[in-house]
């Protein structure tokens, strides 16, 4: 795969993978900012703005804008992450010019018509009210509130019923103007387009953006309040737990070792230890998994599990014991070799569709890597040793590091379920 660095006549950079197999273009981009920059009391501003960018721009009302989008079969969307606001389009080659014009309008001249703002506010509030009743969503939000207490990351990215009510069109404009600028813009493109055509397209879409931004820089989260366990009661038959701890920064020299460790522990689906112990041997859950989320101000290794209330204590006990074993060095050379082999062999699977490639590359750009990373990545995985993995496990997986939040009606005095026991069917 050939990743080209393209600079437009107007000076906008992008990475391009040229591929004319399907007559379409996938474009991904991001601006620094995201929900962490929401003003206090107006949590959900970045998310609200992301929704409003397809609700009319320039001379086009919401309905007119959406009809134009439909007329050219454009897929367009915006999303607020914690550290960035993301945009994406997929468009057929024949409609590329019109898509660029619509995207430019959306970014530069969103309308914020009162009626569209109110309609979107209602939709967001319905989503918030619903999420507040879903145990997995509540558990994830509570985990962040506990782990990141005192930092903007602790706040709900989508906002609350109250904060969303407080957000006005001016607040979104106040966010948009400094955030949408050339300096922090990162673009990746994949598909049926030449470098020269992409250069013109970039200027058409982004050329009128201001150069710089005055977004404040956020401080690091600092040490997570380890050893916390919180329970939120909810009347559901199955409890959901989120568990996790601090992890390594994306550019830490041991980061790749932590990726291998995560794969062995809970990232590797059916080949992970947690899946083996909690699901396969004991039938305590349908799924248990972990992942590493390296963000600007913190990095965490986090997992979740859902188990019927009366057995949740057992699930958590089994998970805690397994993490402790790994922290104590109970990891074999064979496990490391297999995890590395899986991570290396699966890397190309993320590059078999235009949108997937564009997403992967945007992630690398946001993490501050160059296009050469793609060719070097498997070598970095291969270089990880058993000693590296054990060192990282000892540092990260100490049981006292764990932060656990549980939502449901769990009985946490673990009812013992032996491996392979044939527990009576409910």
């Amino acid at each position: 795969m050939n990743i080209q660095s393209v600079t437009s006549p107007g000076g906008i950079d992008a990475w391009l993978v040229e591929d004319h197999a399907v007559p379409m273009l996938a474009l991904r981009f991001a601006f620094d900012g995201g929900s962490a920059q929401d003003p206090a009391g107006k949590e959900g501003t970045a998310n609200f703005l992301a929704q409003m960018l397809v609700e009319g721009a320039g001379d086009l009302t919401s309905t007119a804008f959406q009809e134009r989008v439909k007329d050219i079969a454009l897929r367009i969307g915006f999303r607020a992450g914690k550290d960035a606001l993301f945009g994406n389009i997929e468009v057929l080659t024949e409609s590329r010019a019109e898509a660029a014009a619509l995207l430019r309008l959306a970014l530069m001249e969103p309308r914020f018509d009162a009626e569209s703002v109110e309609r979107t506010r209602q939709r967001l509030k319905v989503g918030i009210a619903r999420a507040a009743r879903e145990p997995d969503r509540v558990a994830a939000a509570e985990w962040e509130a506990v782990a990141f207490a005192g930092h903007p990351y602790a706040r709900p990215a989508g906002g609350t019923l109250q904060s969303v009510d407080a957000i006005m069109a001016d607040d979104m404009e106040f966010y948009r103007r400094p955030a949408f600028c050339k300096r922090t813009l990162k673009v990746t493109a994949v598909g049926d387009i030449t470098p020269q055509e992409l250069g013109q397209l970039l200027d058409e879409i982004f050329g009128a953006l201001p150069d710089d931004t005055q977004l404040p820089t956020l401080g690091a989260v600092g040490v997570l309040p380890a050893g916390r366990r919180s329970i939120i009661e909810m009347d559901v038959p199955q409890s959901v737990a989120v568990f996790g701890m601090t992890a390594l920064a994306r550019k830490d020299p041991d980061y790749m070792a932590s990726v291998v460790l995560n794969f062995i522990g809970g990232g590797g689906s059916f080949s992970s230890r947690l899946m083996e112990e909690v699901r396969v041997k004991r039938g305590l859950t349908y799924g248990v998994s972990t992942s590493i989320a390296p963000m600007r101000c913190a990095s965490v290794l986090k997992g979740s599990v859902a188990t019927r209330n009366h057995l949740m204590g057992t699930s958590l006990e089994v998970i805690g014991a397994e993490l402790e074993k790994m922290a104590n060095g109970d990891i074999s050379d064979e496990e490391v070799a297999k995890a590395k082999s899986a991570l290396i062999g699966s890397y190309p699977l993320g590059f078999d569709a235009s949108a997937k490639i564009a997403n992967q590359l945007l992630g690398l750009r946001l993490d501050g890597f160059g296009p050469e990373y793609v060719a070097k990545r498997n070598g970095m995985v291969a270089a990880v040793t058993l000693a590296d993995v054990k060192r990282v496990a000892a540092e990260l997986l100490r049981p006292e590091n764990l932060i656990v939040t549980v939502v449901g009606k769990p009985s946490l005095d673990a009812e013992h379920v032996a491996p392979k026991a044939s527990a009576s069917a409910a």
């Binding site: 399907v22 439909k70 590797g268 039938g283 305590l284 349908y286 062999g345 699977l349 069917a425």
Partner: protein, 447 residues
């Protein structure tokens, strides 16, 4: 590591189909952009083919297929795939059970050997079965018991179909899951898992000739099993009454309206009706330009969201489904009245040329976007072939969509938006009181 991108335009992807000597169907869709393949085995058997007192059996067996054979130890199947960098999963629907892997192309032969092995050599211990049953009970809790929306959907299916087994949940009722045994699973397996009843779909960096050679060496060695029976399912009687159900739950935040209509599917419809239904529901229900959204959300302001779609993939029938979430201060009666106004309008006056052309462009573009994603591409062929449709129908779909007229759309709206063939489901917060249980448009009071 990755193949260089081709620099010249190539035509729309095409599938090549052939049959092995033992009756197994094979379709290969070359896609040489990355050195990976998607390998899928589609069994023409799903939840609706199980005995009605053992709901969930097809899905139960799908889980157990990850247990052992003589060659593969218990739990080793996924590990072997993953150690080679592959991804895998399986799913069960009413009509099919599907096993799939995505992996670097050099492992395709091994994936075929492993799938061929578990097609006929599965062995199960009571212990494995007991533990997996617990896993499925947890799966049911995650997907259904914890979600009022999912429970309403389940109850709506139970009400929509009078006799047909589509009325039973794919995962099974909890009391049926608790009874599923090793013997049930093995009997089902022996009856339905055979090359004659399976379709192999391979998409990715492979030629039809290479795929054929590998398939002959693996699947081709399994003897034909002509004893596999075709699908014989109870037929729906005429639908004569309107059905309405209400689910109240304290975990419902906003009252929600849902309606499903029983319709023909692509596999059962008379000429062109399914195409017209696809376009009808793109116009009525798709996104912010759909009529439901425009009327309920933008104009009448009774709902926070409203959408609908046509699901025409079924073997015995299709379904039109629509839903709307009421705004906090609006009752479901006004939501339902607005939905019915939209449907009455389209039944009486049909759709405009402008709307139809927009919907056609949108559906044709979706087909192109789907062609960009290898897994979706493989699924497109598997889904259609497993319910008896042909490759020329699949690949001719964008052209066929272009031929549909506004008259065709109006005709299917009139015929298939028939309230007697529908079920209406209301999801209400527990505190809500209804004015009258037999009121055809109940007024739900705000929470």
């Amino acid at each position: 590591m990755l193949a260089p991108a081709p620099q010249t335009p190539v035509p729309e992807r095409r599938g090549t189909q052939f049959k092995l000597a033992n009756g197994m169907d094979v379709v290969v869709i070359p896609d040489h952009r990355a050195p990976v393949v998607t390998h899928m085995v589609w069994y023409r058997v799903g939840a609706a083919d199980g005995p009605s007192h053992r709901s969930g059996l097809a899905h139960f067996l799908e889980h157990l297929m990850f247990k052992s054979t003589e060659k593969i130890a218990d739990g080793a199947f996924p590990k072997i795939v993953m150690e080679r960098g592959g991804q895998l999963n399986a799913f069960t629907s009413q009509d099919v059970t599907v096993y799939h892997e995505r992996i670097a192309k050099e492992h395709l032969g091994q994936m075929m050997a492993m799938e061929a092995d578990r097609m006929v050599n599965l062995r199960l211990t009571d212990q494995e079965v007991a533990t997996e049953r617990q896993v499925i009970i947890e799966e049911r809790a995650s997907r259904y018991d914890n979600s009022p929306n999912a429970r309403l959907s389940e109850q709506m299916s139970a009400a929509l179909y009078i006799a047909h087994p589509y009325r039973l949940p794919v995962i099974g009722w909890a009391h049926d899951i608790a009874q599923l045994s090793r013997e049930d699973a093995l009997a089902f397996y022996k009856r339905y898992y055979a090359p004659t009843n399976a379709i192999l779909v391979v998409a990715g960096d492979v030629t039809p000739d290479e795929a054929r050679r590998l398939a002959v060496e693996t699947y081709g060695k399994i003897p034909a099993n002509p004893a596999v029976e075709g699908r014989a399912r109870p037929k729906e009687p005429p639908h004569e009454v309107v059905r309405r159900i209400t689910l109240k739950d304290k975990r419902v935040a906003n009252a929600t309206f849902q309606r499903s209509y029983l319709t023909p599917s692509y596999a059962t419809a008379e000429s062109g009706a399914a195409l017209a239904l696809s376009l009808l529901m793109a116009i009525v229900g798709d996104g912010a330009t759909g009529r439901l959204f425009r009327h309920l959300v933008v104009e009448d302001k009774v709902a926070a969201g409203a959408s609908g779609g046509y699901f025409g993939g079924g073997f015995d029938s299709g379904i039109i489904h629509m839903q709307a979430v009421a705004l906090p201060n609006r009752d479901l009666g006004s939501v339902e009245a607005a939905v019915d106004a939209v449907l009455d309008e389209v039944r009486q006056n049909g759709v405009s040329e402008l709307e139809l052309n927009r919907a056609k462009r949108s559906l044709r573009a979706a087909y192109t976007f789907e062609s960009d994603e290898q897994e979706m591409l493989a699924e497109r062929y598997g889904r259609a072939l497993s319910v008896g449709r042909t490759i020329s129908e699949i690949e001719g779909w964008p052209a066929a969509i272009s031929q549909v007229t506004t008259d065709d759309v109006k005709a299917v709206a009139l015929k298939h938006l028939d309230i007697r063939r529908s079920v209406t489901g209301l999801l209400l917060p527990e505190s809500t009181r209804m004015t009258s249980s037999d009121n055809p448009t109940p007024k739900a009071l705000g929470p």
